[in-house]
């Protein structure tokens, strides 16, 4: 035996429908005069908030040396197993004696969790605000060491989208 329970019994006022329609149009009208939230992408770029986890970068020291010492903490911490590192003795005198000969990140595997930047003891790997990277082939989404250093050059001084100076912002 089925029991039909009615949670709502429409009244006469409800059955008219016009009051509800007008009520809904009032919301539309209210937003019509408010500030627009739609962004005209791609003419206009969305600027992610601080701490957004996008494309990776490899940081450098001011003198051009790579900060990374190829300790492979990031690849050990990576839950997606997308970081491949081949270490080697560093070519420069002084500083750390080890550096990455090869540093590949498979961006298709990466889940952008940010564990790599948390694991990094040298603050070498960081996630940037860049979100609009795409390619025509899987191979193109395998970013190598040179690519990661290029991302650093693009994002070190200013926000990639808003072009605001990063140094003026409080450190997060």
């Amino acid at each position: 035996m089925a029991i039909i329970t009615k949670s709502y019994e429409p009244t006469f006022w409800d059955r008219l429908y016009f009051p509800a329609l007008i009520k809904g149009l009032m919301v539309t009208l209210r937003y019509f005069f408010k500030r627009k939230v739609t962004i005209q992408y791609p003419d206009e770029k969305y600027v992610p908030p601080d701490g957004y986890r996008g494309l990776h970068r490899l940081n450098k020291y001011p003198d051009g040396r790579i900060r990374c010492v190829a300790c492979e903490m990031c690849s050990a911490a990576c839950p997606a197993d997308c970081i491949y590192i081949v270490p080697g003795p560093a070519p420069w005198e002084g500083g750390k004696e080890r550096y990455p000969v090869k540093f590949d990140i498979d961006l298709l595997k990466c889940i952008f969790c940010g564990f790599c930047e948390m694991a990094c003891p040298e603050e070498a790997i960081e996630l940037t605000e860049i979100y609009d990277f795409s390619a025509y082939s899987r191979e193109d989404l395998l970013i190598d060491r040179e690519g990661l250093l290029e991302v650093y050059e693009l994002t070190k001084n200013q926000n990639y989208y808003s072009r605001t100076d990063k140094s003026k912002k409080p450190a997060t």
Binding site: V69, A70, E72, A76, P87, P89, E97, R98, P121
Partner: protein, 524 residues
């Protein structure tokens, strides 16, 4: 026998053993750095301090011996010694010792190759303080080469002196010593005698921290990426037990594995760096048949059929040539296949070297010459002259991929033959002159048993995956034999070959891979 109580555990031990030895044997953890079972006890690291009831100060457990006491003086009326390894005093003292050891130790685990197998790292994590109270500048010294293969990072050294004792006691060469005193002391090599003996690589193995490093492995990989597999060194007939560390079919290093009946705790540098010669080989990955000057690729069924046809056509005028680098099983099956196994490929020889602790490097630099002589019966040593006296039209060569320079007499013989079948994994000179090439497995891919020169049979286990289309050598030989003689048995695995081998040779009977295990067994 004295009755000992360590924490809550009652243990009966032989009189004269130390507390640390007893603890290690019964699974109680006492941290230590300078103690090594093969070396003299010095008690310099102070890490193994324990409290012994009735003694006013903490004792180093590596140098405190257990003995029977007079019945009136036993603790609680029954124990000869009561030891505490976990109480408050010991835990506090360990923290202090670690703080001292870490005073000048850099925080460079990310760049240190020992990280992951470092005792200092493990013990700091387990027993040490989270923070250092040392606010002054750390002492920084540059790296130095102690020998051509060994680098020392003085900053990381904790002066346990294991390496110094090793050169004094095991290699007997005494190149290393502790220079200067106190704060300034450091490990140094004699100026006119660098650390270049044939056991030098062990120094990097026994270093409990990342101070001594082998230039061969430095900055190559992290230890947790590597897969560790037990194996046997194949560079001389001693057959040292080794561990192979590999990642994705590439070997990164070999370290010695303990086996008191063969090599103790150590291995020589010839074997340690010997794996590099397999990196440069031109690998054969498919069966091939000669077509003029080049080779055509075949599939396995065809290759086996062609081989069997050739052998059949020659009407038992084919001779087999075995190799002292191959396993007993492969050599045995070639013996079964051929009516005549004539000889073996020229063995590689070197200088016989013996160290003070009886560690030796054999003059015979092939791993299984004894096994070949045991299994293949009447082999002729002087193959090149004997073959002329017999009517041999074809050769089946079990090649081992060692790049030997063949002399003219060998080349003559190869040229005279109607056909030469070579089973090899590398494109050696022999393989280049072959009519059919069958791809076998490389040294660290093979499985089987090998017999060392003292008559100890050991299980050679595969450490790498097989590459390409190659098959295990014993399987190829079995398939050829099955194709030749329809009634011959099919071996499903290596164990059946060993069983059959045991039926024929009484001193190899009753052997199984399970019985051989990791430590091998002596032949009767």
């Amino acid at each position: 026998m004295p009755l000992l109580k360590i924490d809550d555990k009652e243990i009966q031990v032989e009189s004269g053993t130390t507390i640390l030895e007893t603890a290690i044997a019964s699974g109680i953890e006492i941290p230590y750095y300078c103690y090594h079972p093969a070396l003299e006890v010095v008690g310099s690291c102070r890490m193994c301090l324990v409290q012994v009831e009735g003694m006013s100060k903490l004792q180093v457990s590596c140098n405190t011996f257990i003995g029977e006491v007079h019945p009136d003086r036993k603790v609680n009326g029954k124990y000869d010694m009561v030891v505490y390894t976990q109480n408050e005093l010991v835990v506090k003292e360990r923290k202090n010792i670690l703080e001292f050891l870490l005073l000048n130790h850099p925080l460079d685990c990310p760049v240190c190759d020992q990280a992951g197998e470092c005792y200092l790292q493990d013990y700091s994590f387990k027993f040490g303080n989270a923070h250092s109270r040392f606010e002054e500048e750390k002492r920084v010294r540059p790296n130095e080469y102690l020998g051509s293969q060994i680098v020392i990072n003085h900053n990381r050294c904790i002066l346990c002196s294991r390496c110094v004792r090793f050169t004094q006691e095991i290699s007997g060469t005494s190149e290393l010593f502790v220079e200067a005193r106190g704060y300034n002391s450091k490990i140094a090599a004699l100026e006119d005698k660098p650390l270049d003996n044939l056991l030098a690589g062990n120094v990097a193995d026994i270093c409990p921290v990342g101070a001594l490093l082998s230039t061969d492995y430095i900055h190559k990989n992290r230890i947790w990426n590597l897969e560790q597999k037990p194996s046997i060194c194949q560079d001389c007939s001693v057959g040292c037990n080794v561990d192979v560390f590999s990642q994705q079919d590439q070997i990164f290093r070999l370290t010695a594995r303990e086996n008191q009946d063969v090599n103790g705790y150590f291995m020589c540098d010839i074997g340690r760096y010997g794996f590099h010669r397999f990196e440069k080989i031109e690998r054969i990955s498919h069966p091939m048949v000669r077509n003029g000057k080049s080779f055509n690729v075949l599939d396995w069924d065809e290759a086996i059929k062609k081989t069997a046809d050739l052998i059949e056509k020659s009407k038992e005028k084919t001779a087999g040539i075995v190799s002292p680098f191959h396993t007993n099983e492969s050599n045995y099956l070639l013996g079964l296949l051929m009516k005549e196994t004539l000889g073996y490929l020229p063995p590689i020889t070197g200088e016989e070297i013996t160290f003070p602790t009886k560690f030796r490097i054999s003059a015979d630099r092939s791993p299984n010459l004894r096994g070949v002589n045991d299994i293949c019966g009447d082999l002729v040593k002087d193959f090149t002259s004997i073959i002329k006296t017999r009517d041999i039209r074809g050769l089946y060569i079990l090649d081992d991929g060692v790049d030997r320079k063949l002399d003219d007499s060998w080349k003559d013989i190869l040229a005279k033959m109607d056909f030469v079948i070579v089973q090899s994994y590398a494109m050696t000179e022999l393989a280049k002159s072959a009519h059919i090439v069958l791809p076998g497995l490389a040294p660290f891919e093979r499985e089987g048993t090998i017999t060392n020169d003292k008559g100890r049979i050991q299980w050679l286990r595969p450490s790498l995956a097989t590459k390409g289309d190659s098959k295990p050598d014993w399987e190829i030989l079995m398939l050829v034999r099955n194709a030749l003689h329809k009634e011959s048995e099919y071996f499903a695995d290596l164990g059946e070959v060993i069983k059959k081998m045991g039926d024929q040779f009484p001193n190899y009977s009753g052997i199984s891979l399970f019985k051989i295990g990791t430590q091998g067994m002596a032949l009767t």
